[in-house]
Symmetry: C2
Subunit: 135 residues, 2 copies
């Protein structure tokens, strides 16, 4: 997995901490310390998943779409999750080999099981709780 979950969590934490006002992508990029366009790209994705709302034009910006206590870390993870939690190689296993022929199906099943326990655990913490850890 790449850095998208970290970036998404950073964004959501900022929006949670600044819950009363709209935050700009420029401001968030300054905190995260990455390019503002990348921030907007992730914001666009979070928007699509209904986690945040946006306001265009001057004095526009972003805010949480619902109270932080109603957003779980699992919900945020779902918005950015990779195809395979355990990673996936780009190779095409040899179909003439009895192991190669079946390995991807079995790995996929294993991956699904692991994703489930991860989501269960991530679902026990809300964004509000995560945000409360900050002083």
């Amino acid at each position: 997995m790449n850095g998208r979950f970290s970036i998404a969590m950073h964004i959501m934490t900022l929006l949670c901490a600044g819950e009363d006002s709209l935050l700009s992508s420029e401001f968030m990029a300054g905190s995260i310390n990455i390019n503002p366009v990348l921030v907007r790209k992730e914001l666009s994705n979070l928007l699509k998943h209904g986690l945040i709302s946006s306001q265009m034009g001057k004095n526009g910006g972003y805010a949480l779409a619902k109270p932080a206590k109603d957003i779980t870390i699992a919900g945020i993870y779902e918005a950015v999750k990779p195809d395979a939690v355990l990673g996936q190689a780009k190779n095409q296993p040899n179909p003439a080999c009895p192991i190669g022929k079946q390995i991807n199906a079995h790995l996929k099943q294993l991956d699904a099981e692991i994703e489930q326990v991860m989501l269960n655990k991530l679902g026990t913490t809300t964004l509000a709780e995560f945000c409360n850890k900050f002083e």
Copy 2:
């Protein structure tokens, strides 16, 4: 995460299925369908973690270091696991921002918790059980 776990699982499954003989990196590369040097690199890592044994010279090759029933998927995962299960961005958050200053520490803690539940789950299946799924 990249494809290392998949490759490692493929290797370990091949060694499990061919438990009676030594397998060469060339043969395994043919099943996985990647470059033999990459296979040897991963074999080198699995060796370092005590999961397999190797025999140099003609008629050499690789084998499991212990019975497949004594190897868990968690053990294999440990050998290839990334620094962060949930991924890590390469940015350096702004230390002047109260959120940026602390986010990495909190994300690291979250990551450790998730890794724990993953390992718990992966620890419930042995390589022998995984291998038995193949027909």
